[in-house]
Symmetry: C4
Subunit: 255 residues, 4 copies
Amino acid sequence: MDEIAVDETGQADLADPVLVEGLPGVGHVGKLAAEHLVDEYDDDTTLVRRVHSEHLPPKVTVEDGLAGLSSAEFHAIETEGRDLLVLTADHQAQSNEGHYRLADGFLDVAEEFGAEEVYALGGVPTGELIEDYDVIGAAPGEATVERLEDAGVEFRENEPAGGIVGVSGLLLGLGDRRGMETACLMGETSGYLVDPKSAQAVLEALEELLSVELDYSDLQDRAEEMEEVINRIREMEDQQSSMELPGDDDLRYFG
Amino acid sequence: MDEIAVDETGQADLADPVLVEGLPGVGHVGKLAAEHLVDEYDDDTTLVRRVHSEHLPPKVTVEDGLAGLSSAEFHAIETEGRDLLVLTADHQAQSNEGHYRLADGFLDVAEEFGAEEVYALGGVPTGELIEDYDVIGAAPGEATVERLEDAGVEFRENEPAGGIVGVSGLLLGLGDRRGMETACLMGETSGYLVDPKSAQAVLEALEELLSVELDYSDLQDRAEEMEEVINRIREMEDQQSSMELPGDDDLRYFG
Amino acid sequence: MDEIAVDETGQADLADPVLVEGLPGVGHVGKLAAEHLVDEYDDDTTLVRRVHSEHLPPKVTVEDGLAGLSSAEFHAIETEGRDLLVLTADHQAQSNEGHYRLADGFLDVAEEFGAEEVYALGGVPTGELIEDYDVIGAAPGEATVERLEDAGVEFRENEPAGGIVGVSGLLLGLGDRRGMETACLMGETSGYLVDPKSAQAVLEALEELLSVELDYSDLQDRAEEMEEVINRIREMEDQQSSMELPGDDDLRYFG
Amino acid sequence: MDEIAVDETGQADLADPVLVEGLPGVGHVGKLAAEHLVDEYDDDTTLVRRVHSEHLPPKVTVEDGLAGLSSAEFHAIETEGRDLLVLTADHQAQSNEGHYRLADGFLDVAEEFGAEEVYALGGVPTGELIEDYDVIGAAPGEATVERLEDAGVEFRENEPAGGIVGVSGLLLGLGDRRGMETACLMGETSGYLVDPKSAQAVLEALEELLSVELDYSDLQDRAEEMEEVINRIREMEDQQSSMELPGDDDLRYFG
């Protein structure tokens, strides 16, 4: 197998598409958002490329007995607005060099489809439960920063403090070197739990940027499931603390 | 030395052989099973290839003063049923990339011998002592799943939960990409001890699939040795617990 | 992207320039010193090369929303004395091989600009607060050692005890193999704090070697800020210890 | 720099030489023995090759201010018996693959000098102080085993239990694949201390195999220094234990 093997699984003729990436990361925000796009445009989505690589985990995942080799997937989506090329995966690269080489391989596929614009989606951890989900941006180009600010994306002096690590960060940096317009949209999230609400916030920012309209009932269902999980934890905490101390609503440890 | 060096150690003319792999892993189930095949068909077995690689441990093993460089071995076996190409080794690859490259190299050898079918053997840990040894399957192709189900192999919704890691998993995934029919047969095993009974269960599943008939007295001898080890541990536990509490037969910690 | 990608960001025609390297390390001495050179000669400095590599961290740093891919920078500086090619970066290489390959790539750039002389700047940890900042030298060539001794640089029997690790060390070793004259100048520093005074000591040694004259008010401002930090720590210690024991001025833990 | 860079530092015309390797390892036995050969034949020794590689540590060592890039050295020695090519170094390789590639590179140099025989020297840890220093052997070829047994080298069923790891082991395995006659000579040693006596035992076995005669006064001086270290430790132990318990001479912890 080549270091990065791109299998053609379908065909699509996209017009000036935008690459949208959502890999696993903080609060699974990027992954949830990207998968929501694929689910919402189910009928207009074609799985066009499956990427295998020695930089992905050396394993097959098994679902109902069916074994699938570690991979990343490109989905071509024709929307009422901009055409999309959505990149999803269950894995990040497994090494420093792997991150660079995979990101480069992903950009090759994007260029093959004519994409000149890249949105990397992710979460930025705040360490506390979020009430209003702001979306933080980062981009290599000042013009992009201004355009995103007009769409309500926030840019902050020192966030994210540690930079953007992994494939998302490299799509920005390496895409920019290729002359693409790249940006990262990061939903605020506690960092402790899978966060469908943060994914929705990120997608709402994308709606304006891509002239698409999305329905969020599925993400809201998942958000309600998460609420129930949080409530159960809260109750357990209350019970425990009522045995020791007067109960409080402090959710510090989970948000 | 090449990254993967394949030394020819013998010749064999196999008809439509099946690759059977058993490397070290959970309960040493795969390794025990593969080595049992080699031992049982001793007179009809030829060591045909020895593979060295920088992805194997950088060492020689020493037995009675004789030093042998880390390697994996291919054994050609002519049986009363399907011809076999059995892959054994004392080591797994030492890195993520190494797993991919070794698995690819192993498949090259399999193709050289005309193998178009692959069975990766292994164990799946249950965390408790096993009474009835089920064999769990995983395969990339639905037709293979059905064929194995007919042979009594079980396919479960979420097992193995973490997928199949290492060379075994990659033989399935990378073999499938080459158009081979691949499957993994995993014997249930506690995960705490070398488990010859689990190896026998896996081989019994193979018997039907490969139209071979095996004698298990050697594996049963090893199973009895293991039983004695377990009993000694049990006795030590009983003695210890009788000093503190009434003795019980709970073997929780060992099975 | 190539393993090491050198982007041309500007042009400069330097006469017999000296490569001066200051990457992050002990007390950030080398980095502070190299950046001070760039700041002081602001008007005569051109950013001539930006180097990206898979051996640098797989990330973008974000400042005010602007994302920048991990990089190292070459600055061409025309001074009243020797022309300089100053190498700065926010990162070291991420692996053993990466150190070798980056150092080799950096030397390629240096040779492109005609540099035949290399000064790697850094700090050597003493484990205690420094009063008089000596500068310790190391060089592969005995003639270089003598020349540096004449400039007041000290050479000691067993320092630095662990050798010089990373890009700085390799610029000495690999540069020497290319026939360049290379040396490392290491300011003594406690090893516990960022140390602008140690950076000044290193630059003062460079002044004579390069026939340049530097103003140190900026570094002295930063040194005063560090002094305040140390004083605050000292006060906190005094307060704590006065609650337990008579106060003392021992700064052992911070210097 | 190439992955493995071999610098010619001198010339020698050896007749059917033997490669003798002594890198750092258990008790520094191999390194002490190899360096003793170089020191004893000082006048008849030429440093013929210096090997640098990205698989060695990324650093320069500094002695009296002189910086030297990580390296391994080949010394050509003309003796009254067999000619020798002695390989010494201060480092092992830094990765699994590095061990393989360095060992392969070292064998290339050995072949360049016409060596068809290899002795890798080392120590085998016993966990207790040694009275009679046996030398344990390991070799890929049975004829070699017999020849070494005749010279008093011992071959044991399960020693060394973990095999021989690193460059020494690979010189045996990879050299054997090239058709060289290879063997490892391992002096028994406690494993806790640098052990010149074990090095002497290994060299005494080599004397017969190579028809050379060595003087051991230097190694004996170093052994006496080590004895003094052990005695000081023993005294400290006695003093400590006399404060708690009747003193004993048990040196368990150091041998």
